[in-house]
């Protein structure tokens, strides 16, 4: 099943944790998919640079599956990451099938390791900053300053924060009077679907299932049907605009989509 080369590489590392074991992790504690992946990675107890991405992908996908069973609402970010990891696994299984110009499994694994290592590095840096000798906690300025001539003193202490808070508060207050609640029928607007896909442009791995990108809470019943229809229409529009490619292998078969913006991005100024 697996490419022998990769199997041997992966088996160098800690034995995969059974999916059930990884599920003790609660979604509430995590700030997004990368945070979750980093926690899973730390469970492997090896240097992030040497982490088994296959094992990580399995754990992550198992986590997603359990969240789905528990009907937990996961943000779109989690789904995008799941799609990416699924694609990674398919690359691992069929390395020779990688289309020209698309990353192979090794590249993908290296990228994920890099992102996890970067997040960890920034967390460590944050801890180092917060541990410094801080004014008002560890070191103190003169407690009884005397006014000095050479120092320009500002007359007003209003800040950008005050200005933006005032503006937002004021506009919302005035407009708030004109707002009324509207009960929404279970219809995903095409604009919303389009916005959703557009937000993911640039991050959709090659050929992904359209249904993977349904908004959370729109994955069953009438809402699912509306969501699929709108996502498909939006995908068609984006295909017309040259931002996506669509593919359907057989009538009534699954619809796949592929991002075309990445290449475009590299060429423009």
């Amino acid at each position: 099943m697996m490419d022998p080369e990769f199997e041997s590489a992966e088996s160098f590392e800690a034995a995969p944790i059974a999916p059930e074991e990884a599920l003790i992790i609660e979604v509430d504690g995590f700030e997004g998919p990368l945070d979750l992946l980093l926690a899973l990675a730390r469970n492997q107890k090896v240097d992030i640079a040497k982490i088994s991405v296959l094992q990580l992908a399995d754990q992550y996908l198992a986590f997603m599956e359990s969240a789905r069973r528990k009907r937990l609402e996961l943000a779109a970010d989690y789904l995008v990451m799941a799609a990416w990891l699924t694609y990674f696994k398919s690359r691992l299984v069929l390395p020779q099938a990688a289309p020209v110009g698309e990353p192979g499994a090794e590249e993908m694994a290296a990228l994920l390791r890099w992102r996890l290592a970067r997040l960890q590095a920034m967390r460590d840096a944050a801890a180092r900053i917060m541990a410094r000798d801080r004014m008002g906690r560890d070191v103190f300025p003169r407690g009884e300053p005397e006014p000095v001539q050479v120092i320009r003193t500002r007359k007003y202490s209003d800040t950008m924060y005050d200005l933006l808070t005032a503006y937002s508060r004021e506009r919302v207050r005035v407009l708030g009077h004109r707002v009324y609640e509207m009960v929404r029928p279970p219809i995903l607007l095409i604009e919303e679907a389009r916005e959703r896909i557009e937000r993911m442009l640039g991050k959709i791995p090659s050929w992904s299932l359209l249904t993977r990108f349904l908004p959370p809470d729109w994955t069953s019943g009438a809402k699912r049907r509306s969501a699929i229809a709108s996502m498909f229409s939006a995908a068609l529009e984006l295909t017309r605009d040259g931002k996506l490619e669509l593919r359907q292998m057989a009538p009534f078969g699954e619809i796949f989509l592929k991002d075309r913006t990445e290449k475009a991005g590299e060429q423009t100024t």
Binding site: R154, K155, T159, L164, E170, L175, R178
Partner: protein, 231 residues
């Protein structure tokens, strides 16, 4: 020939029998205190049996020739600027103030919606805006009259000044964040009320705006030099 600083006058160079650690502690406590400190409070930070009076006398002696002196006021101790250097101090402390809520809101509307007339500010805020509020913002130096609207009555239009940009740390009035950015930074809820939009403010003269010629000649100063975005 150059000669080094006399070690006698340098703080910390003296030979004294007192524990330098105690001097350091009293020095730091007096420095950070917001008002004069009594000896009992200082003693509480030192080991029992420490002669606080001797520590203070030694500190006072060390600081005596310096720019800052240790003085005793009403039985308590405090650091003060040396008397002969009083000329360095300004007579009056400037108390930092904040604009009133009405004023900062009006300022924010002017910043985002410029060029804007007073009637338009009232329309956006949904309340009467007193002339005093706009006048006060002009007095602070953050709001100016930009021009006149080419509409009946030719009302004056308001905008922000270079001083406004400097104070709020903007290089350019167009750098004010838009709706998405206000949302992203957390100033607005993810779903703002219907009809919420933010104009893109600009320094450039609006299409229906005439430059302000001024009612009084003294309002017309020579054009400013190129704006320097220096904090």
């Amino acid at each position: 020939m150059a000669h080094p600083v006399d070690p006698e006058t340098a703080v910390g160079q003296e030979a004294f029998e007192l524990d330098p650690a105690h001097l350091r502690i009293v020095e730091a406590l007096l420095f950070a205190a917001a008002q004069p400190v009594d000896e009992r409070s200082l003693a509480a930070a030192l080991p029992p049996q420490t002669n606080v009076g001797a520590v203070l006398t030694e500190l006072q002696r060390q600081y005596e020739p310096r720019g800052v002196n240790l003085v005793r006021v009403a039985g308590k101790w405090q650091f003060r600027t040396a008397k002969d250097l009083g000329f360095l101090l300004s007579k009056q402390a400037v108390e930092e103030r904040k604009l009133s809520r009405a004023a900062i809101e009006t300022l924010a509307i002017i910043a985002y919606h410029q060029p804007v007339t007073r009637a338009e500010i009232e329309d956006i805020r949904g309340v009467m805006v007193s002339k005093g509020t706009v006048d006060a913002l002009m007095e602070v130096g953050w709001v100016r009259i930009r021009g006149r609207r080419r509409t009946p009555g030719r009302p004056v239009t308001y905008g922000t000044t270079e001083a406004f940009l400097v104070h709020f740390g903007l290089e350019n009035i167009a750098d004010l964040p838009g709706v998405e950015e206000l949302k992203g930074a957390g100033f607005l809820d993810a779903v703002p009320p219907a009809g919420f939009s933010v104009p893109s403010p600009s320094d450039a003269l609006g299409p229906d705006e005439d430059p302000y010629e001024g009612d009084e000649a003294d309002l017309l100063a020579p054009p400013e030099e190129s704006p320097a975005a220096d904090g």
